[in-house]
Symmetry: C2
DNA sequence: CGCAATATCCAACGGACGTTGGATATTCGG
DNA sequence: CCGAATATCCAACGTCCGTTGGATATTGCG
């Protein structure tokens, strides 16, 4: 049984064109369902229905339900990592250029993060569930999420050491802002927020940054 | 299977006064399980086992599973409301006494909140799940949680109007800090935090307050 | 003591779930 | 055009779930 790993389409490998439910389609649909309602509340038949296929087809492509869940997490965390690593690197570069560019780089980083999460609200659903069931996603955490947040924390720690910023516990500051953004997106998930709420929250986030990292006198 | 050494009461141990599975005991045990693993992942047989009784006994006392879940939420939110309303009233009184006492009252409020959540980490588990499945707890939200947070926001809004504090979006500030505290407690839930982490987070929370609400010049 | 109450357990029901074997349809390489 | 491959579906299996009816034992009340 060829499962879950997308069939290798290297040169010479045959390829079937009548596929209505590619692993990508299934994972995308399942990620949304899992984010909204959680692992146990989503059935394989429901995932199949969301893709317009039978439940056996889903199993044929992704294997077990646990494997499908892990694929959703891997996809989501990989997307987040891809979206943020460049912004983190830019912020780190900005630190070398003095307090002004450093703060500008941090503001840019915050904007990139908010943009990403507002674009893909299902990330917040899966991310919060990861915290609520930590044993279920431990290894994915180590692969994708932890290095990213550790990089952000290190940027802030370097800024602190250079005297640019002034938070002795940068990891707590990062966590505080990250959770605030997720809280904002949770409001988006429930449909309670509109364009005005988005604008207000973004302004708040930047105000948060200015106040938590006041310019040194 | 009956162990002869165990002093277990045989089947049919009635007496309203000293039943082994009172509704209180069941709700307490179920709240912990629901907080840790969620509604769908916890079975009634598991709740019964946690109380040392049969599943039919649980049903006899609490009715359906959904009713049990609602009881857990009601209990948890009522406890939070009870723990915080007094502190909120005190903070409101402090606002009339000028910037100094106002800030002291807010710091006290933060301490009460952190104390409460650290004492009952299962509150965080249920609270976060409420946000992830908003339709499931809508009416309990309106009864318990919303009035409380609205009171806190109003305290900050009054402080803002009186020129004591300076955050134009107090509800976002409240939400930011509240989520930060829950993030901290999530760390406690997963056992990753110790006494030192608690001290550091508490210091951070107060630093957060000082920076988000700097003393007016 | 006898009777009504009731807290408890046992066994079971219907349904939903994850999963699978096998049949069918559709496409590709040759 | 043929045979191999595979994506899809149908039907089913075994398991677990929430829930319930009924039997049993124990107390309170008269």
């Amino acid at each position: 049984m060829e499962r879950m790993t997308t069939p290798r389409r290297g040169p010479g490998r045959p390829r079937r064109a009548d596929q209505r439910a590619t692993p990508d389609v299934i994972i995308e649909a399942a990620a949304g369902l899992f984010a909204r309602r959680g692992f146990d509340a989503v059935g394989m038949r429901e995932v199949a229905a969301a893709c317009g296929v039978d439940v056996a087809t889903v199993h044929h492509h992704v294997g077990t339900k646990a494997a499908l869940y892990e694929c959703c997490f891997a996809r989501v965390f990989a997307a987040e990592s891809e979206a943020l690593t460049r912004a983190v690197a830019t912020a780190r570069d900005g630190l070398a250029a003095g307090p002004g560019p450093a703060m500008a780089a941090l503001h840019e980083l915050v904007d990139v993060f908010i943009d990403f999460l507002e674009d893909r609200p299902e990330v917040t659903g899966l991310w919060l569930r990861r915290w609520l069931e930590p044993d279920r996603h431990a290894e994915l955490d180590q692969r994708y999420s932890e290095p990213l947040y550790r990089a952000v924390e290190q940027v802030l720690a370097e800024a602190d050491a250079a005297g640019v910023l002034s938070e002795p516990q940068p990891h707590l500051a990062v966590r505080s802002l990250v959770w605030s953004v997720h809280a904002h997106v949770v409001g988006l998930l429930s449909g309670a927020n509109g364009a005005r709420q988005r604008r207000e929250f973004r302004a708040f986030a930047h105000r948060w940054l200015d106040r938590m990292y006041p310019p040194p006198a």
